[in-house]
């Protein structure tokens, strides 16, 4: 299969996909109830899209193509309410967060669809371990070369997105010490990591054809990159975020990425360089491990600072672009996260208070469902 041509999309339009966890209301472990939820949801009319995911204890909500924070958050809230209503009706709790704190991967059941069974056969236990919950943000690009430019420019800021959304400190019953342990599961996939350093679409097509020629991949879907182009939508897709604990934070992070994309497209602060990636995995690890307190090394100046400082700095630099996009409220949310902490710190505080991961999970679901 050859690469699709890059579709046209409205520049800086955004779309948000959120993978959600389905929980039983007894011990708040994952429950394989996606078919029940989807059947119940199908009986109502709703905005956006709600669809199954790899294992039967997750569902995904997708916003439509949006441009502004207010409309985006409103749509996500209405999607959340649709899902929460179905959950109340079926006694199933729904929650955000990047991992389930104590689920056992071997107990997950694969959703009955050909692609999911294919992936499950291919990846074995990795597929079930992939019961992790991420936020994907699409950014509309004027053309394919601009998309690749934006992709590599945004790579510098991938640690920002990780630290702001990080909400997966607990895995298999233990505090991992990571702010986002979810990404550790993604990294075990053979085609994860960053996109190759290619700056125009012809070169990218050549790379893609070589890869399909080797038989390693069949489509763009087989690449699990942190940011990847999505030619059929005419977007690039930022895939490093954990699903945050509320839709408001999810929308705010999407708009933070959007404002940053506008800054990059309009101000053109230099061109991406291959050497920018020398610090990439270090910075990304710091963000996963320490969240906002992680160390960030500037790829150009090699200056070290905390991610919190680098984000605060960035907020000042993109303020005008955020204002242009009417995303001030979103930037305020981001500032709030810098001051009070991300989802991972909320979860750790809640656990310290509840002493019990089931009880923490219940609070987490309450936070998601009630907003």
């Amino acid at each position: 299969m050859s690469l699709m041509p890059f579709a046209s999309s409205r520049p800086l339009s955004i779309g948000v996909e959120l993978e959600l966890q389905l929980l039983n209301c007894n011990d708040y472990d994952l429950v394989s109830s996606a078919p029940d939820m989807l059947r119940q949801i199908a009986r109502q009319t709703h905005h956006g899209e709600i669809k199954p995911e790899m294992t039967r204890s997750m569902i995904e909500i997708n916003s439509s193509v949006q441009y502004q924070y207010a409309a985006l958050v409103e749509e996500l809230r209405s999607l959340r309410d649709t899902v929460a209503d179905a959950g109340h009706f079926l006694n199933i709790a729904v929650a955000g967060g990047g991992t389930h704190p104590f689920q056992h991967w071997s107990e997950q059941k694969i959703f009955d669809a050909p692609r999911f069974h294919y992936l499950s056969d291919l990846y074995g236990y990795l597929a079930k371990q992939f019961t992790i919950f991420g936020q994907h943000v699409h950014i509309g690009c004027p053309g394919p070369d601009e998309a690749l430019h934006l992709l590599h420019m945004l790579s510098r800021y991938v640690p920002h997105f990780i630290a702001l959304s990080a909400s997966s400190p607990f895995v298999q019953g233990h505090d991992t010490g990571f702010a986002s342990a979810r990404l550790n599961s993604v990294f075990s996939f053979p085609l994860s990591g960053r996109a190759p350093f290619v700056l125009n679409w012809e070169d990218f097509e050549r790379f893609f054809n070589k890869m399909t020629g080797t038989g390693v991949v069949e489509s763009m879907k087989d690449f699990y990159w942190d940011i990847r182009p999505k030619p059929e939508f005419g977007t690039i897709e930022v895939r490093v975020c954990d699903t945050p604990l509320t839709v408001e934070v999810a929308a705010a992070i999407a708009c933070y990425i959007q404002a940053m994309a506008r800054y990059i497209m309009v101000e053109r602060p230099g061109d991406p360089q291959e050497d920018d990636y020398l610090v990439y995995t270090f910075n990304r690890f710091q963000a996963c491990r320490f969240g906002l307190d992680g160390t960030f090394i500037d790829p150009r100046t090699h200056e070290q600072r905390s991610l919190r400082e680098d984000i605060a700095d960035m907020l000042l630099r993109i303020a005008d672009h955020a204002a242009e996009l009417q995303a001030e409220e979103a930037m305020e949310q981001i500032r709030q996260i810098l001051a009070t902490g991300n989802g991972a710190s909320w979860l750790r505080q809640t656990y310290a208070h509840e002493h019990n991961l089931s009880d923490m999970m219940q609070q987490q679901a309450k936070l998601w469902m009630n907003g």
Binding site: S32, D36, F89, L90, E107
Partner: protein, 402 residues
Amino acid sequence: MTWAAYLPTWPLSVSPALWLALTLVIAVLVGEGLMRYLRLPRIVGYVGIGLLLGPAGLNLIPELPAAEWRLLVDLALGILLFELGSKVNLHWLKANPWIAGTSLLEAAATFSAVFGLLLWFDVAHVTAAVVATITIATSPAIVVRTVTESRAHGQVTERLLLMTALNCIYAIVCHKLAVAFMHDEAGTSPIHTVLQPLYLIGGSALLGWLFGSAFNFVHRHLGRHEETFSFLLFGMIAIATIVASTLMLSPMLVLLAAGLITRYQRQRPRTFLPHFGSAGAVLVILMFTANGMAANLDGLRDSMLLVVLLILVRTIAKLLPVLMLARHSGISTQQALALGVALAPMSGLTLLLTLDTAAAFPAFASGPGLVLMSSIVILELAGPILVQMALRGTGETLEERT
């Protein structure tokens, strides 16, 4: 010194407890074998061995003294009913009134169908009503035990637990009302007909609330030490059972109410080991074996047709309303079929209600009581298999690897 001073005399005189212990060992081994080689629920082995070796079967072991049997069943059933109550989320009924509707319809249909059947077989009105109320209940013991054993989760499992808790309440309360009418017919004054059920319901609810609150208090302060907590809880359940019997209340209703109340107050269950630890689990196994030993199949000999029809009619009466309201309540037809079938088991609770009625009315014991007893034996053996099939068929079980 003689031989007799230190060697046992022949024939050996052994305590009857040995036979019980031996039965327990065999029952557990057979249960394990059924699970491993035939993938059948272990309960079938427990009940089956009790039945096979007990008075109704090969008569190899003596009958258990009634008082001890009763204490055992009261305690084990108490544990299971409390466990059932604490797994059930009553708030769900508010969010999805169709489930409440299904439950009420299912109970009403069961009562009417069984009542009608018995009238057709010329059973007296009041007696037919008493039997019909008893058949409303799904076995909480079989449901809780099978769900625990198969580690099931999902819509069918949760609805099964909820609807079982509800139909047990209907059965216990309606049974007392029906028995009160039976008393009335036997010539007691009408005031007792009204006051007795009132005392039963009010008293049981109050005692259940006290127990539930005490439970929440203990869990808050000692819940983190699982073993201590299990022992304490176990003692508390024994106390509640004995206090309830002393006050002539229904221990079953008290413990079910207590479980429901703990869950309702806190909106989420306290986590504890299945059956509150191994002591509880042993009691539960013993209870199933003892139930098998207490089996009475005389009804099958005298009125086989009625027994078969009773089981059929009751099962269909439970299945149809669930199927009818499936779509509205948010489950698929396949799930409804599974849920309806899984409501069929009868066991300890039904047995106790039958025996209590039989103790008060000798005529009941020799007639409809025998029919019920036989039905219970059949549904106690077939019930766990039906529940397991239902949960497996809907993909809600997590089978353990052996």
